[in-house]
């Protein structure tokens, strides 16, 4: 089976600073790939490059068999099929929760107002947000906002979901409610690539874990292997720092 997403030798630099260096990654349907590594290791940049929010400086990215890193590809066509959730939620403060969730389905995917709202209400209910449908985002807690942001991404039924450290801005007691959703998605077979600092969560849901260091994927493997028996010295150092002994 060919991979849903294929990243080959991707390089990205800002001026002289090389942020991604020869990064390759395969994501098959129903995979859950966790990117771990210290801040500045290139996790977020990789996700942004996949969503074509940044132009890459070399390498190839293929999605569903066709190259999307070609300048002639319309990024919007690609993003119709990829969902992204950001660390700072990035909900639109002037729209209600429901309008946040129906914006793209109605304007981009051509759903009728009714269809889009039904779909959004369904998903919001699934994730325990029924009471907040008509509120504006600023009225919600951080955890609720991030759950809305996840629902907003899911409302377009993406084939691939990119999650960029979605719990990094949350209080510890709110992290759980967001991770529960991601866990449910993983169980349902949603294909995801997520950058995360939640090691125990990565160990639990990931089909594969990538350790990034200085813009390179230093090591990749099933979570059991990476967390219990890392091959690289730098992975070991990193895990010693972040894992409670």
């Amino acid at each position: 089976m060919s991979a849903l997403l294929e990243v080959r030798g991707v390089r990205k630099s800002y001026g002289d600073r090389v942020v991604l260096d020869d990064v390759s990654l395969d994501v098959a349907a129903h995979d859950v790939i966790c990117l771990i590594g210290s801040s500045g290791s290139g996790k977020s940049t990789l996700l942004r490059c996949i969503d074509l929010l940044e132009d890459i400086d070399d390498g190839v990215i293929r999605f569903d068999g066709s190259e999307i890193s070609d300048p002639r590809v319309d990024p919007r066509e690609v993003r119709r099929q990829i969902g992204m959730v950001f660390q700072a939620y990035n909900l639109f403060p002037h729209l209600s929760v429901l309008d946040n969730c129906t914006l793209s389905p109605r304007r981009v995917h051509g759903l009728s107002k009714r269809e889009a709202e039904d779909r959004a209400r369904d998903l919001l209910a699934t994730f325990g947000l029924s009471d907040h449908v008509d509120k504006h985002p600023d009225r919600l807690s951080g955890g609720q906002q991030q759950r809305v942001a996840l629902v907003r991404a899911l409302c377009t039924r993406p084939a691939l979901l990119l999650l960029d450290e979605i719990t990094a801005a949350l209080d510890p007691e709110l992290i759980g409610e967001v991770l529960t959703i991601v866990r449910q998605l993983a169980e349902r077979g949603t294909t995801m690539v997520l950058a995360t600092h939640e090691m125990s969560f990565a160990r639990e849901v990931a089909t594969s874990v990538c350790f990034l260091s200085e813009g390179r994927i230093l090591e990749q493997g099933p979570p059991a292997e990476i967390f219990s028996n890392p091959r690289e010295e730098r992975t070991r150092q990193f895990l010693r720092r972040v894992l409670p002994s």
Binding site: D22, D58, S69, P71
Partner: protein, 283 residues
């Protein structure tokens, strides 16, 4: 990959494609721009009344003849603008601060400030110029200047002060309450909070609309002509009435454009710079 990186075949081809795409958009931009301007030119010069309009408004001889008088008058507009602008800034910031004051003692000041903005924003500037320039000297009060130019300037200051005060106030209101909270948490007084935290951020935020108002003020210095002050517009009208040719008005328009364009470009530049600095990397 410890060796020096060299772009791959694929990347080089991508760069060629990007270059082609850029060249294409430059070509389109050029063609569209030239097309639009040529079209506009043809439409204007091809109109049936163009020859007489050209004679009346775009006459080279009259442009040269009136140039010196217009230039001399324009100097008054420039002086008026340069003097009014700083006064307006100070007055407007004072009014805005008065309107945002929360102290119980300052309630009358706050009401006065609100009354001032309501009244002076409501009166058309040209009426204010005429009322003040002719009305105040007619009071024949001892010690007050009777110069019409002076009172026309006061009218501009009062009118624009009200507008600019509102611009400042919107800037002050736009600063997030958390900023005030953190300043108060550092035990700063209300006045210190405004002086060191709120106003500096607010001013930065409203610089583009402020400059916009000043471009507008530059042009509105022409309103003093209504009070019979011999500025550029008055000089042009004077020449026109005498020689039955309105080319000097176009000359004045040219002067104003030359004066306002630099300020407009400065506005664009400042706006871009703030956007780049404060939103660096925040996409």
């Amino acid at each position: 990959m410890s060796t020096v990186w060299a772009p791959s075949e694929r990347e080089q081809e991508r760069r060629r494609i990007r270059r082609r795409q850029r060249a294409r958009s430059v070509l389109i931009a050029t063609l569209v721009t030239v097309g639009v301007f040529v079209g506009l030119g043809v439409a204007v010069t091809g109109s049936p009344g163009w020859p007489s309009v050209q004679e009346l408004f775009f006459n080279g001889f009259h442009a040269r003849e009136s140039f010196d008088a217009v230039l001399e008058g324009f100097w008054i507009n420039v002086k008026l603008f340069l003097i009014c602008q700083p006064v307006i800034l100070v007055l407007a910031l004072g009014v805005a601060l008065a309107r945002t004051a929360r102290s119980a003692w300052l309630v009358p000041v706050r009401l006065l400030a609100a009354l001032y903005t309501d009244v002076f924003r409501g009166i058309p500037t040209i009426l204010l110029v005429i009322l003040l320039a002719f009305g105040v000297p007619a009071l024949r009060l001892e010690g007050l200047p009777t110069d019409r130019l002076f009172w026309a300037g006061v009218a501009l200051v009062l009118s624009y002060g009200a507008y600019v005060a509102e611009v400042f106030r919107s800037g002050i209101d736009s600063i997030h309450p958390s900023q005030i909270a953190s300043a108060e948490a550092l035990a700063l007084s209300r006045a210190q909070t405004m002086r060191h935290v709120v106003v500096p951020q607010a001013v930065r935020r409203v610089v583009p609309p402020l400059l916009n108002d000043f471009v507008s003020l530059q042009k509105d210095t022409a309103l003093v002509a209504a009070a019979g002050v011999f500025d550029a517009v008055f000089a042009a009208r004077d020449y026109g009435n005498f020689n039955f040719n309105y080319t000097p008005l176009v000359v004045v328009a040219g002067f104003f454009v030359v004066m306002t364009v630099p300020l407009a470009r400065l506005t664009d530049w400042l706006q871009r710079r703030y956007a780049e600095r404060e939103r660096a990397g925040a996409r």
